[in-house]
């Protein structure tokens, strides 16, 4: 093997529980950077992670972590950190204790473990409460200590299952910055969520799952751009939407207009970037005041809507 195998690789992997399908024929490879795994509840995100962590055996196909089957061997876990969505922790341990124990489970000596634990606690911003029992932590602190536990052995791949679930905005922001920071350091980070803005604020690289199927994979905008057969919409807020519509409808990539609400104009186009190129010029030419320009489609919500065949 000359080059390093990708961190995560699934080849037509399927997993079904009796009649219920968890993952259906998913092939994908993820290596480097932050990747958001997106899908509604029951889409198969947790199944995907459990397959990656060797807790489930794929019914068909193969799952590889760094080229190794995680069901057969636990050795890839040395390079994997996992943050589960479940809440329980060893409530009676202090944060430092917990991390030291987890680090030692990776085969570190007591001293190494202590050093790493201090370091990681500092990284997630918990060093001032490290001698407090985990049971006394707030929700956000618990979430961060779980992230810290996944980082304590300096893994190359970090899997976070719904890390922002149930956190307040402040905790959310700090966890997001931790995740982005990890991505910047060259780790492979996989974050799952069913809340779209979260992923959007963390990363542009996404995997979309729905009903066990892989719907899309790649850059958020690139995916959106590839879906040309769907109309793209641009929402303009203006005092005189009808006048502006007359002005714009004649321009090249714009083929339709709507007036969704009073004071708004929605234009439809097949080529978003081209439309954005001509839009400023046209508005200036028309002399009508436009207070805001929005791309309502360029988020995961509508993307998912398109991909599953809605709207």
């Amino acid at each position: 093997m000359t080059s390093e195998p990708p961190a995560v690789m699934l080849e037509s992997a399927s997993k079904w529980y009796g009649q219920v399908i968890g993952i259906n024929d998913v092939s994908l490879a993820i290596d480097g950077g932050v990747t958001g795994v997106l899908g509604p509840n029951g889409a198969g995100k947790s199944t995907l992670f459990k397959l990656l962590l060797g807790r489930l055996r794929p019914s068909q196909g193969s799952v590889r972590l760094f080229g190794i089957d995680p069901w057969e061997s636990t050795s890839p876990f040395r390079r994997v950190g996992y943050v589960s969505e479940t809440e329980p922790l060893y409530e009676w341990m202090t944060g430092l204790d917990f991390l030291v124990t987890m680090a030692r489970l990776h085969g570190m000596t007591r001293e190494e473990a202590k050093e790493r634990a201090e370091h990681v606690l500092d990284f997630v911003g918990l060093s001032d409460v490290r001698h407090k029992e985990v049971g006394k932590y707030s929700k956000g602190m618990r979430q961060r200590v779980k992230i810290a536990h996944a980082l304590v052995h300096d893994p190359d791949l970090i899997i976070l299952d719904e890390p922002l679930h149930g956190c307040d905005p402040l905790a959310r922001t700090s966890i997001m910055s931790v995740i982005r920071e990890l991505g910047n350091r060259g780790k492979t980070v996989i974050v799952s969520s069913h809340i779209l803005e979260e992923i959007e604020r963390i990363t542009e690289q996404i995997v979309i799952l729905h009903n066990g199927r892989l719907l899309a994979l790649g850059n958020l905008h690139a995916i959106r751009g590839l879906l040309d057969k769907h109309p793209h919409r641009i929402l303009l807020e203006t005092e005189a939407p009808r006048e502006l519509a007359k002005e714009l409808i004649t321009r090249k990539p714009i083929y339709g207009v709507r007036f969704p609400e009073e004071g708004y104009l929605e234009i439809q186009t097949s080529d978003l970037s081209a439309a954005h190129e001509i839009l400023p010029e046209a508005i200036v030419e028309s002399g009508i005041k436009v207070t805001s320009v929005e791309n309502p489609d360029d988020n995961l919500d509508s993307l998912l809507g398109y991909l599953v065949g809605g709207d």
Binding site: L56, V80, T86, M93, G107
Partner: protein
């Protein structure tokens, strides 16, 4: 790096012990944070303290000499103990019969229709009369059934209730004193004076002849009077020190004098052609006594202090080891502590912290069980050491500390730990195999194990009990005891051969599973093998099941 990407030099040897240490330490700390652990350990300690309290109490009382053959009693209160009466051929149920008691000669009577109802003289009287004595033989006493009046317990008559023999009668074999100093008698007595027999009552009299004086032996003479005579070698031995087997010097030795509960006298019960001997069978290799067969009434009342003290001490140690350690602690510690080793993690949802680590799941099971074992083993070792220290200091013996006890206590600890390991892995595996039904199965297995342990105590060679962990634990203790105290077999044989009340013969019996060699080392080997096989196979099954289980 191998095909699976493992760096051999790193993973296998340098890291495995660190991970094992981490899992074990985590398990220990988890157990330490459960209240039930402390409750169970505290109760175990209390149990031992309770046993020690009884032990110390019994040591403080000392070992009283016991009349093993029961001939120091004086049932008829004539002052001659049974042993002495037997020698003279008199009955210990008739107070008038005793060595030198002579023969009663009937002289006369006053019955209900005689005219003359007064008589005087120095006689032995029997019946109802008013007595105006000049002398009363207060030493003339008898048993419950002899109707002899006990002159020490004479009360004053209830004269306010009316006249004697008209309105009230003294109780049978008693007398009372009237206010004028005379007596109202009803029973047998010996006195000189004037007697008046009331109408419709009866009095007979006579004299005793052929009396000769036999000094009364103190009862103590018939306790520990026939010590074990053994020169340390095998063969036919034993001396009938008190002569009750050979019946040397007995005036009458007919077995008809024996009471119905006494064994018919058989001077050659062990059928070796020699009367009144004891056969001691020695193991030619070890030189230990392995069998004792005594004729009845030979060496049957040994000096208890020499034997009972030691044997009782051993009984206590073995009973504590078997019942308190193996049966109670051995079974209930695992029931409380080991079932949840993996199950609790699954239920609480913290299992993934441990499974997303580079530790093979099979190893993980092993380390969990080891962590539990570390806690309970430490507890058992401390507890047995504590028991060993106290009992070996206060126990019987010449030396200050009974060093010889320590291997036994250590053996008890080891047996208990092996049992704990077997149960721990068994319950843990059941918890893994049957996440839903496991708890019920464990309770049922607990009851089964307890019943089988109880069966093994009562009947060590019971074959059904071999299908249990407790049987092998108890068997291991039997074997260890024989190895550490090789003469236990001798004590046990002596207990049953000479009627020593030590309890040793029921709490301990020679190991059964020795492959027909009666070698205790083989007994240890079979027990340890069985217990280890159970533990290892259970951990193996648990690991195999767990590593192929999909965890939701």
């Amino acid at each position: 790096m191998d095909a699976q990407g493992r760096d051999l030099a790193e993973t296998v040897w340098t890291r495995i012990d660190r991970k094992a240490g981490a899992v074990i330490e985590l398990t220990i700390r988890q157990l330490r944070h459960k209240i039930s652990t402390w409750v169970v350990l505290a109760l175990g300690t209390m149990l031992m303290v309770l046993l020690l309290a009884f032990y110390i109490d019994s040591i403080r009382d000392g070992f009283e000499s016991i009349d093993n053959d029961g001939d120091s009693v004086d049932e008829d209160r004539d002052g001659y103990p049974l042993g002495q009466e037997r020698k003279y051929g008199t009955s210990d149920w008739d107070g008038e019969q005793f060595p030198g008691s002579g023969t009663f000669v009937y002289e006369g009577e006053i019955d209900w229709n005689d005219e003359n109802r007064e008589i005087s003289g120095n006689k032995t009287w029997e019946g109802q009369a008013y007595l105006d004595p000049s002398w009363i033989d207060t030493d003339y006493k008898g048993g419950q059934w002899d109707y002899i009046i006990d002159w020490d317990s004479v009360t004053s008559c209830p004269e306010d209730q009316g006249e004697a023999f008209m309105d009230w009668i003294p109780e049978w074999s008693s007398a009372c004193q009237l206010q004028d100093g005379t007596y109202v008698t009803n029973g047998k007595f010996r006195a000189e004076g004037n007697l008046t027999v009331p109408l419709d009552y009866y009095l007979s009299w006579g004299f005793v002849t052929g009396i000769f004086d036999v000094p009364k032996d103190p009862k103590e003479m018939y306790i520990d009077e026939d010590d074990i005579d053994w020169d340390g070698n095998g063969g036919s031995q034993g001396v009938d020190d008190d002569g009750d087997c050979l019946r040397v010097g007995w005036v009458s030795s007919s077995d008809q004098d024996m009471m119905w509960w006494e064994e018919p006298h058989n001077p050659d019960a062990n059928r070796n052609g020699i009367q009144c001997d004891v056969i001691w069978v020695m193991d030619p290799e070890t030189g230990e006594v392995i069998y004792i067969s005594a004729d009845s009434s030979v060496d049957e009342d040994p000096v208890d202090e020499n034997y009972v003290g030691e044997a009782s001490h051993r009984t206590f140690v073995i009973a504590t080891g078997k019942i308190a350690f193996v049966l109670l602690l051995g079974l209930f510690l695992p029931l409380f502590l080991s079932l949840g080793l993996v199950r609790d993690e699954t239920e609480r949802g913290t299992l993934h912290y441990l499974l997303s680590k580079p530790i093979h799941r099979g190893e993980f099971i092993l380390y969990r069980v080891l962590g539990y074992l570390a806690v309970v083993s430490a507890f058992i070792l401390i507890l047995s050491l504590f028991m060993a220290l106290i009992t070996s200091v206060i126990g019987p013996g010449d030396s200050l500390v009974r060093i010889g006890d320590f291997p036994v206590w250590l053996g008890i600890a080891v047996a208990t730990i092996l049992v704990l390991a077997a149960y721990g892995s068994l319950f843990n595996t059941i918890g893994l195999l049957l996440p839903k039904y496991g708890v019920y199965l464990c309770i049922i297995i607990g009851v089964w194990e307890f019943a089988m342990g109880f069966t093994t105590l009562i009947s060590p060679s019971s074959s059904i009990a071999t299908i249990s962990v407790s049987h092998w634990g108890l068997h291991l203790i039997d074997s260890i005891v024989l190895v550490s105290w090789p003469d236990t077999l001798q004590f046990s044989q002596m207990s049953s051969a000479f009627g020593l009340e030590t309890g040793l013969e029921w709490i301990w019996s020679p190991p059964v599973h020795t492959l027909n060699s009666s070698n205790p080392y083989l007994g240890i080997l079979t027990s340890v093998t069985m217990l280890s096989v159970i533990s290892i196979s259970m951990i193996g099954i648990g690991s195999a099941v767990f590593s192929k289980r999909e965890i939701m």
